[in-house]
C-alpha cells in the first residue's frame, strides 16, 4: 500500500459513504449535507489525478455553490417544514436491481477492457495552460458553454420569479 493507494481508498470510501447517505437518507437535508463530503472526496480524487485546477473549481462550484443552492431550495420548499415518511417511490426494488445491473455491467466493462496507458509525460496543468486551451483549441466549446450559462441564468430567473 503506497501513500497514493491509501489516499485513494480513503477518498473513495468518503465519497461512496457520503453518496450512500445522499441516496438513501430519509431526511432530505441530511442527503443534501452529505453531498459536501461526497464532493470533497471527488475533489481529492481530482488532486490525485493531478487536476488541481479542476479540484479548486469543484470545491468552489459544487461544494460552495450548488450544495448551498440545494439546501436553500430545500428550505424554501417543504424540506424546511416537515419530514415525509415516504421518500422512495414504488419502483424502489426494481430501481435497485437495474442500478445494480448497470453497476455490474460498468464494472465488468471497466475491468475487462485492457487499457493501454500512454507513458507520455503528463502536461503541467497550470491554470494558464488550461486557460490557453479554453481560448485556443476549445474556443467553440467555451463559447457554447458561456451561451448556455447565460441562457440558463436568464431562464432560472424567469422561471423562479413570482408572477405578478
Amino acid at each position: 500500500m503506497t501513500g497514493e493507494a491509501i489516499a485513494f481508498y480513503a477518498l473513495a470510501a468518503i465519497t461512496l459513504l457520503s453518496g450512500v447517505i445522499v441516496v438513501s437518507s430519509p431526511n432530505i437535508v441530511h442527503s443534501a449535507v452529505a453531498l459536501v463530503p461526497a464532493f470533497l472526496g471527488v475533489t481529492g480524487i481530482y488532486i490525485l489525478l493531478n487536476a488541481e485546477f479542476v479540484a479548486g473549481v469543484q470545491v468552489l462550484i459544487y461544494a460552495g455553490a450548488i450544495t448551498v443552492l440545494i439546501l436553500f431550495v430545500i428550505m424554501l420548499t417543504e424540506g424546511g417544514t416537515g419530514l415525509r415518511l415516504q421518500q422512495r417511490n414504488e419502483q424502489g426494488t426494481i430501481g435497485a436491481v437495474v442500478a445494480a445491473a448497470v453497476a455490474a455491467l460498468l464494472i465488468a466493462g471497466a475491468t475487462r477492457t485492457v487499457w493501454t496507458p500512454q507513458p507520455g509525460t503528463l502536461a503541467t496543468y497550470t491554470p494558464g495552460a488550461i486557460g490557453q486551451s479554453f481560448l485556443g483549441t476549445n474556443l467553440l466549446a467555451f463559447e457554447g458553454t458561456s451561451v448556455v450559462l447565460l441562457v440558463s441564468l436568464i431562464g432560472a430567473i424567469i422561471i423562479a420569479r413570482k408572477e405578478d
Partner: protein
C-alpha cells in the same frame, strides 16, 4: 514524495499549527474588538482580568469550555454537531495559501499552490454550508432565518469577490499568492486597482457577516442568528471560525492589494505583514462600530446591481489594459 501527499501534509500542518495561531489571533481579535468598540463608544471596555484586561478572552474561553453544551430538544443532532466543525475548519483552510513573510529560505507559506487564489475562494465558500447546517439543525426559526440570510448573502457576495480576485490575478498573471505578492514589489495593487480593492473589502465584510452586512446575526432581529442555540465550546468554535475568517480575509486583502510582506527595510517582512493585517482589522472593527445595518433587500440589491456590474466593468477595463495597452 508525490506532491499531493505533500499537500495533504501541508493542510494537516496548517490546521495543527494555525489552530494555535488562529485561536490566539481570534482571542486577541475578540479582545481588540471589545477594546476598540469601547474606545469608539467612549467606554473603558474589559479592564479587570490581567493588565488592562488583556487576559479577559482567556478567562472567557475557560468559562465557555466549562459550560454545559445544550442541545435543543428537537434539533437534528448530527447536523447541529457537525456544523460546528465545518465553519472553523473552512476558515482555517484559508491560511494554507497566505504568505506571511519572506525569510532567508523562501516565502513563509505552507504551500505556494499555483491555484492559490482559487483555493482561497473555494475554501471560504465552504463556510456557508456550515452556517446553513447550523441554522437548520438548531430547529429554531431565528437560527433558520439567519442561516438562509447568510446563504443568500454569501452566495451573492462571493461573485464580486471572485471578480476582484480575478482582476488581481490577471494583473499578476498568476493565481499563486507568492507570485502576486512578488509582482507588487514596486507598486501595490491598491494603487493600480483601487476599485477592486474596495470591492474586495466590501465583499469580505459581507462574507464574514460584519456590520453593515451583519443581518445573519443581527442581535436586535435574530438574537444571534444561526448560532443562537449554540452554547459552551460550540459557541466558542463559531467565534473562532468567525474571527479566523475575518483574519483570513484581511490577510488575503493584504496579500492581494497591500503588497503582502513588502515594505521598507526598517522592519522584517513578517512584521510588515502583521502591521498591515492589523491595520485592516482595525478598519473592519471601526466600520462595525460606526455604521448602521442594511436591510436584506438593500443588501442583495447592492451586490447584484452595484458591486457585480462595477466589478465586471473593472474586469473588462483591466483586461483591456493588460492585453492591449500594456501587454
Amino acid at each position: 514524495m508525490p506532491w499531493y501527499l505533500e499537500l495533504l501534509r501541508a493542510i494537516g500542518g496548517t490546521i495543527l499549527i494555525f489552530s494555535g495561531v488562529a485561536i490566539v489571533a481570534a482571542m486577541f481579535g475578540v479582545l481588540l474588538e471589545r477594546k476598540i468598540s469601547a474606545w469608539i463608544q467612549s467606554r473603558l471596555g474589559p479592564k479587570h482580568v490581567g493588565p488592562q484586561g488583556l487576559l479577559q478572552t482567556i478567562a472567557d474561553t475557560i468559562k465557555l469550555i466549562q459550560k454545559e453544551n445544550i442541545i435543543p430538544q428537537n434539533a437534528d443532532y448530527k447536523i447541529f454537531a457537525s456544523a460546528v466543525l465545518i465553519v472553523p475548519l473552512a476558515a482555517l483552510l484559508d491560511y494554507v495559501v497566505i504568505p506571511f513573510g519572506q525569510t532567508r529560505w523562501g516565502p513563509l507559506i505552507f504551500r505556494d499552490l499555483n491555484i492559490g487564489v482559487l483555493f482561497f475562494a473555494a475554501t471560504s465558500s465552504l463556510v456557508v454550508v456550515g452556517i446553513l447546517m447550523a441554522g437548520w439543525g438548531s430547529n429554531n426559526k431565528y437560527a433558520l432565518l439567519g442561516g438562509l440570510r447568510s446563504a443568500a448573502q454569501m452566495v451573492s457576495y462571493e461573485i464580486p469577490m471572485a471578480l476582484a480576485l480575478i482582476t488581481v490575478a490577471m494583473l499578476a498573471g498568476s493565481l499563486s499568492t507568492v507570485t502576486i505578492v512578488n509582482a507588487q514589489s514596486h507598486l501595490w495593487y491598491i494603487v493600480a486597482q483601487p476599485i477592486a480593492f474596495l470591492i474586495f473589502v466590501i465583499a469580505a465584510t459581507a462574507e464574514v457577516n460584519r456590520v453593515p452586512f451583519d443581518l445573519v446575526e443581527a442581535e436586535s432581529e435574530l438574537v444571534a442568528g444561526y448560532f443562537s442555540e449554540y452554547s459552551g465550546m460550540r459557541f466558542a468554535l463559531f467565534q473562532l471560525g468567525e474571527y479566523g475568517e475575518m483574519f483570513a480575509m484581511a490577510a488575503m486583502a493584504v496579500t492581494l492589494f497591500l503588497g503582502g510582506w513588502h515594505g521598507p527595510q526598517l522592519l522584517p517582512p513578517v512584521l510588515w505583514f502583521v502591521i498591515k493585517l492589523y491595520a485592516l482589522i482595525f478598519v473592519f472593527m471601526w466600520v462595525r462600530w460606526t455604521y448602521p445595518r442594511f436591510r436584506i433587500d438593500q443588501l442583495l440589491n447592492f451586490s447584484w446591481k452595484v458591486l457585480i456590474p462595477v466589478a465586471l466593468a473593472n474586469l473588462v477595463v483591466t483586461a483591456f489594459f493588460v492585453m492591449v495597452v500594456h501587454p
